[in-house]
């Protein structure tokens, strides 16, 4: 469209959005359960910082419950952040009232996943596309119609479709209508929340291509939310990977996919089935489930499942950093080989998850046999570590699984740097020149 973009626009490179230490907590349900749990908040998004640059597509990717949608909504002030700041074109949105934000919405549009429920069935397509222009009092009625019809053509529909109703269109076509509507106010930023997840792959490709074309033509910035790494690899310029309310890694697309540094990103990439039967890489799998965002793990939130959890007793954690219970349980020395540590870690998690049975083994010696055979065939640690293992085995022989879990976790997980400190590091990119942020202590010592 020939019209100049309204309002002051942002020059290249300059961020359109700057997010600093932003958190969004929801108060958990009140009532009986809450009173039992001490009514803590759901930490949906916790202290995240990042920029969105003009004209780019920044993808927020992660699995269900990771907080990606909440984060995006908090950026657009659909949910007000609990803490931190969000600047849009230099203006701090968190300082503004809803009324003050309303006129800015012209520049921040959005499209959602479900193309069926997001269009009002009683309105004609033309009215739907014109609605945001009307709301912001843009253009006269004739001009609105002209723009709406041109936008319909731009998204691959026809000007005549202006007079039709949404039910006459397929899912993919409805998503095109949504795009036309979002572009009608010539916005700076469009938040796209899983815009193609409900579509078949062949249609998804059509819609993604239209989105790319529109971005090229109008220079719009996309904040693209998706659970699908393949789609992200196709559309994104930069990618932020989220896990349980934290951004764990953020880098340019090529860097993130070709040189992933966070163990969670790696696990995510390894799990994706690749549409090529000759790729026979072993499927990496992640143990366990995402913990609850009420009372999430301290330090690195991925540590309860991380295949790389760092052995406690490394020099960089001081005893004074640990809470009392952990400090008491922590051993003075954790000398063991890497293989032995892997075995201890696997055993600790297996006890936590009760993923093996001890039917006929009731004497400590019998339990020890089962445990050795299952977890310590190649290497077992010695010294103090072994004594703790022995104590856990005695507890198991008494049927005290919870006690054994507590003992093992406070001894082997809680004193780790992964639990003691929240990680945040920037490393060199191997692909492209951008920053590569990675929230994992494996990168400590390489600049913080």
């Amino acid at each position: 469209m020939s019209d100049a973009i309204g309002g002051e626009s942002v020059s290249e490179d300059e961020p359109v959005v700057e997010v600093e230490h932003m958190s969004k907590y929801f108060s958990s349900e009140t009532g009986f359960i809450a009173s039992l749990l001490g009514s803590s908040d759901v930490q949906a998004v916790d202290e995240v910082s990042f920029d969105i640059r003009k004209g780019e597509t920044l993808a927020l990717v992660g699995e269900s419950g990771c907080g990606k949608s909440t984060l995006a909504r908090a950026v657009l002030q659909l949910h007000r952040p609990t803490d931190g700041t969000v600047r849009f074109k230099g203006q701090n949105l968190t300082d503004l009232s809803d009324r003050e934000i309303r006129p800015l919405r012209r520049d921040m549009q959005m499209i959602f996943q479900d193309p069926h429920s997001s269009l009002n069935p009683r309105l004609k397509v033309g009215q739907i596309v014109e609605e945001p222009m009307k709301a912001h009092d843009l253009h006269d009625p004739e001009e609105r119609t002209r723009r709406a019809q041109r936008l319909l053509e731009k998204v691959g529909l026809e000007a005549e479709h202006y007079y039709r109703y949404p039910h006459e269109f397929s899912g993919g076509q409805r998503q095109r209508i949504n795009l036309a509507r979002a572009f009608s106010t010539d916005p700076e930023l469009i938040m796209c929340d899983e815009p193609t997840s409900a579509l078949d792959v062949s249609v998804q490709a059509q819609v993604l291509n239209v989105m790319n074309e529109l971005q090229e033509e109008f220079g719009v910035t996309y904040l693209f939310i998706s659970h699908d790494m393949s789609v992200v690899r196709y559309v994104a310029d930069r990618v932020a990977v989220m896990y349980l309310g934290h951004i764990v890694e953020l880098a340019e697309k090529e860097e993130l996919f070709e040189n992933p540094q966070h163990p969670y990103t790696r696990a995510l990439l390894d799990s994706i089935p690749i549409p090529d039967p000759r790729v026979t890489d072993a499927r990496g799998t992640l143990e366990g489930d995402v913990p609850s965002p009420i009372d999430p793990p301290s330090g690195c939130r991925f540590r309860t499942r991380c295949p790389k959890l760092i052995r406690p007793g490394t020099d960089d954690v001081d005893r004074s950093e640990l809470d009392e219970q952990t400090a008491a349980a922590a051993l003075s020395i954790y000398e063991m080989s890497d293989v032995a540590w892997e075995n201890v870690r696997a055993y600790t998690r297996a006890v936590t998850r009760r993923s093996f049975a001890l039917e006929d083994a009731d004497s400590p010696a019998a339990v020890r046999n089962v445990v050795d055979e299952r977890f310590f065939t190649d290497a077992r640690p010695g010294g103090e570590v072994d004594e703790v293992l022995d104590r856990s085995i005695e507890l198991l022989a008494d049927g005290e699984w919870d006690g054994a879990t507590d003992l093992l976790r406070t001894t082997f997980e809680e004193p780790s740097i992964c639990a003691a400190r929240k990680p945040a590091y920037t490393v060199e990119s191997e692909y492209g020149g951008g920053d590569h942020y990675v929230a994992c202590h494996l990168h400590r010592g390489r600049g913080e």
Binding site: E63, S202, D289
Partner: protein, 381 residues
């Protein structure tokens, strides 16, 4: 038929009689499953994948009906018809009764896992309760032995703290955990064949990975066969031995997984592969399939894909493509239903022009009366 074949589907047609007309959801498909293999059925929505698999278990409900074809499981006839002298079809005498289906086939021989586990679990009973009852019913175990077996299978499918979770209700499990419970249930009776209908589609990718690993393990340990229904070419590549690609009620291509990906014959399969975004490499431009899936009520004449096929020619509107053997070697059994590979005049015929994404665009240029009826098949505005 291969000697290891345990299930064969031959000429199956399942139609739905709706007010709008007859939906030919599955229209003459044939495929088979051999012992210990994973057979994929892949396609987009509306392809008829789920109708095909529910037909195998005879779980088709009104207004749907299996109207023709033969389904044989080992030596029993699940579906079969005799033709009367007046041409009408009547069920064969040896076809299993509904009761026999329940008692002899479903559960203990062939189990099914659906996409939405909440549909298959009763919300008012605990998971353990349902699992135990299922085991007592299908295997000669009772009381505590059935419970123990139940806990064991829960552990086997990776449910943490299975002893404690045994007494939980379905809603207390996450989606991935519920899907595991269903897999546990399917496994508990040690079926020979498991039909998995998009069982991982609603799950997160790391959970999907866990379940795919589990399936590979089970297949190795018990030699269980699977029919895996999916829309995801990645899942197909990862786990299937042989694949059936469906489009609008038909199987358009079938063969070993490697040939489907590396020696792709059918234009739809090719188009599908080109429209999938890749996780393993950066693609500059995806190549979408134009248009949308036509309705199965009045599907396009001739080849059903001709309204969207980049290779379509005049002949494709007229000729109903038959399966052609396109195997490179005699034993691969790679077949496709596209007249490019048949001797029925494709190469002498004129290409159809799909000028734009509006799949009707070329019809205006062609005024020949015999082609007018094509317009009715285009449901899109």
């Amino acid at each position: 038929m291969n000697q290891n074949t345990i299930l064969s589907v031959d000429g199956l047609r399942t139609h739905f009689y709706t007010e709008q007309g007859v939906v030919r959801a599955v229209d003459d498909i044939s495929f088979d499953v051999r012992q210990g293999e994973i057979v994929g059925i892949v396609g987009e929505s509306g392809a008829g994948k789920s109708v095909a698999t529910t037909s195998i278990l005879r779980l088709i409900e009104e207004p749907g009906e299996i109207v023709a074809g033969e389904i044989t499981y080992q030596d029993t006839t699940i579906v079969g018809f005799d033709e009367r002298s007046d041409g009408t079809l009547v069920p064969k005498d040896e076809m299993l009764t509904n009761r026999q289906m329940r008692s002899q086939v479903r559960g203990n021989e062939i189990a099914i896992i659906f996409q939405d586990p909440m549909e298959s679990l009763n919300p008012v009973y605990t998971v353990g309760n349902q699992l135990q009852e299922f085991i007592e019913l299908n295997r000669d175990l009772s009381g505590s032995a059935a419970k123990k077996e139940g806990i064991d299978v829960l552990r086997e499918v990776g449910i943490p703290e299975p002893e404690a979770r045994f007494g939980d209700y379905p809603h207390e499990f996450s989606g991935g955990m519920r899907q595991r419970v269903l897999i546990a249930m399917a496994l508990a009776c040690r079926p020979n064949l498991i039909i998995a209908d998009e069982p991982t589609t609603a799950l997160d990718v790391t959970v999907e990975g866990q379940i795919l690993n589990l399936v590979s393990d089970l297949q190795e340990e018990y030699g269980t066969s699977f029919i895996w229904v999916t829309h995801d070419m990645g899942v197909v590549a990862e786990i299937c031995d042989r694949v059936n690609v469906m489009y609008l009620g038909k199987i358009v291509e079938q063969g070993p997984v490697d040939e489907i990906f590396y020696d792709t014959k059918h234009p739809y399969t090719k188009a599908l592969l080109e429209s999938v975004p890749r996780p393993d490499r950066t693609v500059d431009e995806l190549n979408p399939i134009v248009g949308t899936m036509p309705s199965a009520i009045d599907p396009p004449r001739g080849c059903r894909f001709h309204t969207r096929c980049p290779d379509a020619r005049e002949a494709c509107r007229e000729v109903d493509p038959q399966f052609v053997d396109v195997s490179e070697t005699p034993d691969t059994e790679h077949r496709t239903a596209c007249i490019k590979y048949d001797d029925v005049g494709y190469w002498d015929s004129v290409p159809l022009e799909h000028a734009s994404e509006q799949d009707t665009s070329y019809i205006d240029e062609d005024q020949r009366p015999e082609n007018r009826d094509l317009e009715q098949t285009e449901g899109e505005p």
